[in-house]
Symmetry: C2
């Protein structure tokens, strides 16, 4: 018999799927095993928020900890926002007005409350102007005195900037110090961040130690590629699913995901069981309509997580209806297919399907249609002539501009 | 006929002897020619002051400008003192109490008033806590935003530290920014500093420009070796003459100066005319008593500048009396010398003098006495057998322990 899982095991096990690393895991486990109540720092810059599935990975871990009785301390970085994560040679951002702070804070709370619990004992809302607003220059300098130039230069982003001959403004150099001291001011026990924030949060540990506190543990989470397979999900690339997207848009965006990412997304962005994730990954690898259906299942699970099962089901139906009908003429000719022959009566390759419904074309012309992306099956482009398609009665096949047939089994 | 000197020429000419370089001389000349009233920043760290002749070089230039109607703005760096000129890995200095600030400020004023005029229209006293005390963290960060890491790394002292593997604390990195912004806060037109402060004062120009002001000009002054010939005059080396030293101590210290420095010191530390400086330099090069007398003249001029001519004369007399009598027995035998022979009847080489007053010794023994430093003339060691001595009636010659003669002309 294996030993009973420790309290720490019980809390951490469901989190492991999206955890990349834990700094000072031992301390975290000790605290959990001792039944301590944790304060989990969740710091944000106070720009207009647009949280996406990538951000939500961290939020779901925090939600899980909330369910175990721990408190998320949501820190609005109203002072540090004016410094900003280093972004080239721009001057400081303009000082935020109270109104803008309130508006952005409200927007943040609306978005994070799609994941986090908001009872006051589980979600504490703070601003770092609480301490930086009252701090005098000599006090700030005494914080600076605890950190050396060499320590800051260890940050890969700073080194990269210097290597590229790009400038680092002095206020940017102080950003890790300010973010670090936040952890001490809040008495943070844990923070959950993307690995790009690891350096700044290590500064948090440094300041907590220098100021006589137990340093926070740090969980970094896996980074998942965007819809386009790129490493970074960003507004400018339009390659992410925002928490605020309406259910139909969420679903439609996930449907545009590249097949090889279905398993990764299912693992990071849904709470589907591991076995189901593996199944979706296998289906996606099979290609064709099996892949499409796997993606539909992923998309529905993503929507359900934020908007509920009912909204997800409706979004799925609407998606299928739209893609079955959008731009299609009222009177679509039927292509009656006899599927009784062949070893797999209900599947055909894409090229075999075209053989049957566009027999007037040469084989090379049919192949060209596919390669050009002119062929869609139920709204999904099919380019690979050898792609395996599962044939359903009523399936809508587009073979060129204004050329449609509805498949009927003969 | 040469053109009449411009107003700028008239002001600057007497200053040139101790000026090393002028940053933006053109702007300074324009301001002087336009008859503008200059604000001259003189910033100090608020540690207990111990101003010496080296510091006074800058003060005398400021005094000269005061005499021309300009105002010295004496800035007590009560905030920046807590940062301190970078000094290794020490933490910030303790915050100064009001009492200590007042005590140090009073000591500073006592010392600088030995040189500067103190009428309110010629000496304005400020503290940089006036602006840093009220400054909020975001404001400070917006100042930081105007300076880059690369700019700061251009400071040779920082580069040297990194090259040596020594640490630079972040607060030390901000020191040039704080000192620089002082120039903007004070609307400085000119500052007069040692070349080690050039970098920080260039930051002053940078901040003034960024904040829409005309940047200050910067005069750097020559650095003069200490009493021991070393580049740095410092407390720990005990190689300087402090403005607060009593007249006798000032004079005695200058008398310990190495002969080759007499001209340099006379040029930097007195207002003796150039021709007189050149004479003293030549006398010092001649060695022996001529050198000693040159040094006495230098020392008397130094004392007179700070303590008045009368105090200087007294100090000189006391010095001679002490060195003529200290440790000498009451009954000193006379050595009657016949000086009527030879081309220079009133001068002898050291060895010739010993030939006359210690005829019982061999020539090599007499030479050895000299080389061992056993021989003193009026309290000054004479080691060179060929040194030329001017013979005076009553001159006291020591030729070994408890062996003295008083020279009488025969």
């Amino acid at each position: 018999m294996s030993p009973a899982p420790s309290p720490a095991d019980q809390v951490l096990r469901p989190m492991l799927r999206t955890i990349e690393s834990i700094v000072d895991e031992e301390a975290l486990r000790e605290r959990l095993d001792a039944g301590e109540h944790l304060r989990i720092k969740y710091g944000v810059d106070l720009t207009a928020p647009n949280l996406h599935l990538g951000h939500a990975v961290n939020l779901w871990l925090m939600r899980h900890l909330q369910e175990n009785g721990h408190t998320v301390v949501f820190l609005l970085g109203d002072t540090t926002t004016q410094v900003g994560d280093p972004t080239g040679r721009s001057a400081t951002r303009p000082v935020l007005g109270e109104e803008e702070i309130a508006r952005n804070a409200e927007a943040f709370l609306a978005q994070i409350s799609r994941v986090l619990r908001t009872e006051p004992e589980l979600l504490e809302v703070r601003r770092n102007s609480e301490w930086y607003g009252e701090m005098a220059v000599p006090q700030l300098l005494s914080l600076f005195a605890m950190t050396t130039h060499a320590q800051l230069m260890a940050r890969d982003m700073f080194r990269a900037r210097i290597a590229e001959g790009r400038e680092i403004a002095l206020h940017e150099l102080t950003y890790p110090v300010l973010q670090g001291y936040d952890s001490a001011a809040l008495r943070s026990d844990l923070t959950i961040v993307g690995s790009d924030q690891l350096f700044n949060e290590m500064m948090g540990r440094h300041y907590q130690q220098r100021l006589g506190q137990r340093p926070q543990s740090i969980i970094t989470t896996v980074i998942t590629p965007g819809l386009d397979g790129g490493a970074k999900q960003s507004k400018s690339l339009r390659n992410y699913v925002a928490l605020e997207d309406p259910p139909g848009e969420k679903l439609g965006k996930v449907m545009s995901l590249a097949d090889p990412l279905v398993g990764t997304w299912a693992s990071a962005y849904t709470d589907l069981p591991d076995a189901r994730v593996a199944q979706l990954e296998a289906d996606a690898a099979a290609g064709g309509l099996r892949a499409r259906d796997a993606k539909l299942a992923l998309a529905e699970a993503v929507v359900a997580r934020y908007d509920g099962a009912e909204a997800a089901r409706r979004a799925r139906e609407e998606f299928l209806a739209v893609f079955s009908q959008r731009g299609t003429p009222e009177d679509i000719p039927d292509a009656v297919l006899d599927l009784a022959t062949g070893p797999h009566p209900r599947t055909l390759t894409a090229l075999e399907l075209l053989d049957r419904i566009r027999p007037e074309l040469s084989r090379s012309a049919r192949r060209r249609l596919l390669l050009q992306g002119a062929v869609q099956v139920d709204g999904v482009p099919v380019r690979d002539p050898e792609a395996t398609l599962e044939i359903r009665d009523g399936m809508l096949v587009r073979t060129g501009p204004r050329r449609w047939v509805r498949v009927r089994e003969g």
